[in-house]
């Protein structure tokens, strides 16, 4: 009997087989870099409506369209950046020193903000960045009080999209002497950092903690308190945002489930959290519902890759987007998903001095800056086509859903119609969201 050649294996794809083989051989789950390769509903499932007879497009080449972005408008000293594209928190540890410096330099070339990520802030990052965001993490590794007063923006981190609910993870291979020094931990150990902030174990404590931080920041910055953001992974978005607003945050960074990371258990990356598209919609609806949309900024992240994603995120109601993996790709990363091994051939996701030396800082900085400039221009081009003189003027009405799924998830009308599915589905049917 003839053998079946190249059978369609359905559930048992080569990827699934490889995962089972890994577990069978090692008796443990696999750790992977870069987050999840899963296809989830995303901004590509939306289209932007250009102006035609109902409204005039703005001239692509001869009329202006502003990209300046104000984050945390209710803070004493709101953060003003020239493009609504920020560089997300990626640690010195996951990334090489060269990569971190290049990203910081890129922010100065385009006028935006970079977040330091876990494990302290390299002095070279702070020196070279246009605006600096400092994360306050549960691990507090590499953190010290003075960093708070040098920041243009602060982020209290509750979770990241790639592995929400899990502690940070840095494999021993990447903990060199320098990393160990800046993180204030021993070299060479497999690091599982702290899962919860020891100085605020609950939502009510957080209200008091933020008041305390603000009072101290006001004193030490001479009345120029930067905005304080909550970085949260997309999960129970509605409830989380309400709590964050009640706690007094000036903004939210919402990280979707396809966000990247240096190392995460495969199952966590693939199955924890929800995509940024429906999460962003839920966040905006919640901020509107509680009347906080104008004073609380929303930054979305987790797989944002081009100007169309940016334009659509702004149209949904976000104020800015954060890029992580995309900025790495601009520097030369090929998304091989092996960051956790610490052997990046391009000098990005590694601490090996020989490999790090391969990344030319200035060249990489220019590439990242070029990429941010070009993606901002792409968004401007789309916004002008939709008749906007400001990127921030993009609105929900400018969007249509391409798929039933995105229509249902976002409540944005299906292309070719003005119809949506109504207020709720399944468990929520009949219940107002």
């Amino acid at each position: 009997m003839a053998k079946i050649v190249n059978p369609e294996k359905g559930t048992w794809s080569n990827q699934v087989i490889s995962e089972i083989q890994y577990k069978a051989e090692n008796g443990k789950y696999r750790i992977r870099g870069c987050g999840s390769p899963r296809r989830v509903p995303n901004f590509d499932d939306l289209m932007i409506l250009p102006g035609q007879l109902t409204r005039m497009p703005i001239d692509t080449y001869r009329e202006s369209c502003s990209t300046r972005t104000v984050l945390g408008p209710a803070a004493e000293n709101p953060l003003v950046i020239e493009t609504p594209v920020m560089i997300a928190g990626m640690s010195f540890g996951a990334l090489s020193k060269h990569a971190k410096i290049a990203l910081a330099k890129a922010t100065s070339l385009v006028g935006t903000v970079i977040s330091n990520g876990e494990g302290g802030c390299l002095p070279e990052e702070m020196e070279n960045s246009y605006r600096q965001s400092i994360q306050i993490l549960a691990s507090r590794m590499g953190f010290h009080k003075d960093l708070l007063f040098k920041a243009d923006m602060l982020e209290i981190l509750f979770g990241i999209g790639a592995k929400p609910g899990l502690a940070g993870h840095l494999m021993g291979a990447k903990i060199t002497e320098e990393i160990s020094k800046i993180r204030q931990i021993p070299a060479g150990i497999d690091l599982h950092s702290h899962p919860r902030s020891g100085d605020s174990f609950g939502a009510d404590d957080l209200v008091v903690k933020i008041e305390q931080l603000r009072e101290m920041l006001h004193k030490n910055t001479g009345g120029h308190t930067p905005p304080i953001f909550a970085k949260i992974a997309a999960a129970r978005v509605r409830e989380d945002i309400k709590i964050a607003v009640k706690a007094g945050f000036d903004g939210i960074i919402l990280d979707g489930c396809t966000a990247g990371t240096g190392a995460a258990p495969v199952m966590a990356a693939d199955h924890l959290g929800i995509p940024i598209l429906p999460a962003a919609v839920q966040a905006v609806r919640t901020l509107e519902e509680i009347g906080a949309k104008d004073r609380v900024s929303l930054i979305v992240s987790g797989g944002v890759k081009d100007g169309a994603d940016l334009a659509k995120a702004l149209a949904i109601g976000a104020d800015a987007i954060a890029i992580g993996t995309a900025a790495m790709v601009a520097m030369g990363c090929r998304v091989c998903m092996n960051c956790q091994a610490g052997r990046c051939a391009f000098g990005i996701g590694t601490q090996d001095p020989e490999l790090v030396a391969k990344l030319d800082i200035d060249e990489a900085a220019h590439k990242v800056a070029n990429y941010i400039k070009a993606m901002t221009e792409e968004a401007v081009l789309l916004a002008k086509a939709a008749g906007k003189t400001k990127l921030q003027n993009l609105e929900r009405e400018d969007l249509r859903s391409l798929t039933l799924e995105s229509c249902a998830m976002t409540g944005i009308p299906l292309a070719g119609s003005d119809l949506v599915f109504g207020e709720g589905f399944g468990f929520a049917a009949g219940k107002s969201l």
Binding site: L191, H192, G198, K219
Partner: protein, 241 residues
């Protein structure tokens, strides 16, 4: 000595009022009627001596630097969190998570403390005259935690660096993961004796043992996700064969 009566002061006006007094030259301040306000003296960074006559609420002396503060009553949760230097001395008891992320200075409690004292601490000394509840020194990254009374379960869970000094006779049976119970060295005992003399504790360094991180076991945490029985003999025994 400057005297401040805080009975009619709102929480949000309290620290600025004290800071103003410091700016105006006060070197020693006595404060009464603080009535458990939150973040009392948090962020204070001048070399000043402050005595608080009653009790304080959450986040007492957060991010404290240079100052020396004595609280005659109790303090709430998270007292001395993120302290950088200086002293916080508490004459009675505290809530949980005190000394979280402390990077330097001395936090001295004459009474007892709740759970997770010294969580993620990185430096400095925390001395507890009474007992400490569960998970003392959890995930510490440095510093020294000294407990004169009894320890709760899970002491030192997943510490990366730092030490817990204990004279609880049952301490060896209350350890968290990734730590070991060991003898105190002469140097360490001498260091404790100096601290006990400074703060007036009736104890001797040589009565203590030390809980230290075991780094080669890092990553092999006590509470793994699932620990099945892989040895056939053990499995047979469980089945009652």
């Amino acid at each position: 000595m400057e005297h401040i009566d805080a009975s009619a002061v709102a929480n949000k006006d309290f620290n600025p009022m004290v800071w103003k007094a410091i700016e105006d030259g006060a070197k020693e301040i006595l404060i009464s009627n603080v009535h458990s306000m939150h973040y009392v003296l948090a962020g204070t960074d001048q070399p000043v001596k402050v005595t608080i006559e009653d009790s304080t609420g959450m986040y007492t002396c957060s991010y404290l630097e240079n100052a020396e503060v004595r609280v005659k009553g109790n303090v709430g949760w998270y007292a001395g969190d993120n302290m950088v230097s200086g002293k916080l001395i508490v004459e009675q008891n505290t809530g949980c998570n005190v000394g979280t992320y402390i990077a330097g200075g001395d936090l001295v409690v004459y009474g007892s403390t709740g759970t997770r004292v010294g969580y993620g601490m990185k430096g400095g000394h925390i001395i507890i005259g009474g007992s400490a509840e569960r998970w003392a020194g959890q995930m510490a990254m440095g510093g020294e935690l000294i407990v004169l009374g009894s320890l709760g379960l899970g002491a030192g869970e997943s510490m990366y660096e730092g030490k817990i000094f204990t004279r609880d006779p049952g301490a060896a049976g209350k350890l968290g993961g990734n730590v070991a119970y060991s003898e105190i060295t002469e140097e360490e005992a001498a260091e404790l004796d100096a601290l006990f003399a400074e703060y007036g504790f009736d104890a001797e360094g040589k009565q203590f043992h030390v809980i230290r991180p075991v780094l080669d076991a890092a990553g092999k945490h006590k509470y793994t996700l699932f620990r099945p029985i892989l040895e056939p003999e053990k499995a047979a025994k469980k089945r009652g064969e």
